[in-house]
């Protein structure tokens, strides 16, 4: 088992719209990316577990080969910048990903 931090060079979150967050995981090397993709180690279920959310809140998981990356789409709880929002840019919502352990 390896922590995602050991095998990814970028782990980040950002708004993709005022209603949506997008999470990017960019792996360090192609063999690891290919293994993660082949075994589908990053899935809606894995992300939902990391965030302790129902799987229905995780909209999509897309493997993007040219960048050795996995992209995850999920809902924001509050519209960006609306009363009570905590992160207008959505740039600090990635921390739960840092605890993910993968069988690679």
């Amino acid at each position: 088992m390896k922590n995602l931090r050991e095998i990814a060079r970028v782990i980040r979150s950002k708004n993709s719209s005022p209603m949506k967050l997008t999470l990017d995981i960019i792996f360090k090397d192609r063999p690891t990316f290919e293994e993660v993709k082949k075994k589908n180690l990053i899935s809606k279920a894995v992300i939902a577990k990391a965030y302790q959310l129902p799987e229905s809140q995780i909209e999509k998981v897309i493997y993007f080969d040219p960048a050795l990356a996995v992209k995850i789409g999920m809902n924001r709880l509050t519209r960006s910048g609306s009363p009570g929002d905590t992160d207008v840019y959505g740039a600090q919502q990635h921390a739960p990903l840092l605890g993910i352990e993968l069988d690679v």
Partner: protein, 455 residues
């Protein structure tokens, strides 16, 4: 087809760029100098208030280079999403800056302006006619909600910009525009491939962010050929790599393979990124699927009240251990006080050190911090009501006798006097919807003006 070179000095107008990088770009004799000035990233306030999120001095500094070098070398200059949000006051703000530059640099030229403001009655009529589609589960706004938005804009495609360029203007100042179009409108007009020009615009609108090391404040060049394009860094400390260019396709997008825009969706499924020996990257294989009908994205922020905040902290371990309970009790006490005074307000506590960053998304089980920051946020229908409720909440929390309290002089450390800060009017995104636009130019009013006296 001869190569078409586009100079992109900076990721957002006002973020700056090294002079050396810009001048290196000018040595390449670009066919176009273009910049994207906008974003919805900073939230709904800037569109709602008509203010720019970038600083005037920074914007003027960047524009001085672009306009002066563009006019003197007869290179068209295109500015998209003027003033950040691209509504009429944002465009006027940017136009004034350009007029100042023309005066100071003794330049005169013709400038085409494309406004992005959409009449609210047009939007309401389109909603009634079923020609508006929500994005990302946003509810369909009521006519009252549409009317409450101080400004409603739509992201224009290439067509309004091309209509001005066809008139031979030297500078185009566009209101809210789809990010790539200030880079792609001119080459597409000259016959270059729509998909490649749009994809190149999508990358270079972020300037050197897609290079490595990345920077939003450094110039790059995009060079368009018949069936591919090349990305070139202009600062010797940066280069484009296959991975840096590919990774940029992820940035801020919900799906890296499909990038929707006005009139069509870019498809990156078969795109190849190839590193050239010169430290540049060649991109091939982008396609575009036209959407029918043509649709434009509406944006509008509506006011939701006035905000007053107070910032404080605590270093008391007894208080921190039961902070969430204490705040719930304080809120209940404030609600009780207000229920008899007929003051309507919403109170939020942002507790830094516990869940201030992630709010309700925070599910982690962490030990208590040794300090906690408490930001009191109050939203009310008037500024005065927000002030009142913030003041009551602050003083109640300051002196609240929570269970086990032994520090009885006051529960909060305030960094400032005054402790409470008026934040003014508060907005939320209400319109983020697609509207059918069978004629892509018609919704965008245009005019051509002479800047800096007679030509």
């Amino acid at each position: 087809m001869k190569p078409f070179k586009v100079l992109s000095p900076t990721a957002i107008l006002g973020y700056g760029f090294p002079e050396a990088s810009f001048l290196k770009g000018m040595e390449e004799k670009p066919d176009l100098i273009a910049v994207d000035a906008g974003s919805t990233d900073p939230g709904p306030y800037y569109l709602g208030s008509g203010k720019s999120f970038t600083d005037r001095v920074g914007v003027k500094r960047d524009l001085r280079y672009m306009i002066t070098y563009g006019i003197k070398n007869k290179i068209p200059v295109v500015i998209g999403s003027a003033g950040g949000s691209g509504a009429r006051p944002h465009v006027e703000w940017c136009r004034q800056i350009i007029e100042e530059i023309a005066l100071e640099e003794k330049l005169s030229f013709r400038m085409g302006i494309a406004y992005a403001d959409i009449e609210k009655s047009v939007v309401i009529k389109a909603i009634d006619a079923g020609q508006v589609t929500p994005l990302d589960d946003l509810p369909m706004p009521t006519p009252e909600e549409v009317n409450s938005c101080p400004y409603v804009v739509a992201q224009m495609g290439i067509e309004p910009i091309q209509a001005l360029l066809t008139e031979g203007v030297d500078v185009v100042l566009a209101g809210r525009a789809y990010d790539p179009v200030c880079f792609s409108a001119l080459p597409i007009m000259k016959g270059y491939d729509v998909a490649l020009a749009t994809h190149m615009g999508k990358i270079i609108e972020c300037a050197a962010i897609a290079a490595t090391p990345g920077s939003g404040a450094d110039a790059v060049l995009g060079i368009l050929y018949e069936d591919y394009f090349v990305l070139k860094a202009l600062n010797p400390i940066r280069k484009f790599t296959e991975l840096s260019a590919a990774a940029h396709s992820l940035y801020e997008k919900s799906d890296p393979y499909h990038l929707p825009g006005p009139g069509g969706t870019l498809d990156l499924s078969n795109v190849t990124f190839t590193e050239l020996a010169t430290g540049e990257v060649e991109v091939r294989g982008t396609t575009i699927t036209p959407t029918n009908p043509y649709r434009i994205k509406l944006e509008g922020s509506s006011p939701v009240g006035f905000r007053t905040i107070s910032i404080a902290g605590t270093h008391d371990p007894i208080m921190i251990a039961s902070l969430d309970n204490i705040l719930t009790e304080v809120k209940a006490r404030v609600d009780d006080l207000l229920s008899k005074e007929n003051v309507e307000a919403r109170v939020y506590f942002h507790v830094y050190g516990k869940h201030g960053v992630m709010g309700d998304l925070e599910k982690g089980n962490y030990p208590d911090p040794h300090e906690a920051g408490i930001l009191i946020e109050v939203l009310a229908p008037t500024q005065e009501a927000a002030d009142t409720v913030c003041s009551i909440t602050r003083s109640t929390l300051l002196h609240y006798g929570y269970e086990g309290r032994i520090a009885t002089a006051g529960n909060l450390a305030f960094p400032f006097s005054p402790s409470d800060i008026r934040m003014g009017q508060c907005f939320q995104f209400t319109l983020y919807h697609l509207m059918d636009a069978p004629d892509p130019s018609a919704p965008f009013n245009r005019e051509i003006v002479t800047i800096g006296g007679a030509i």
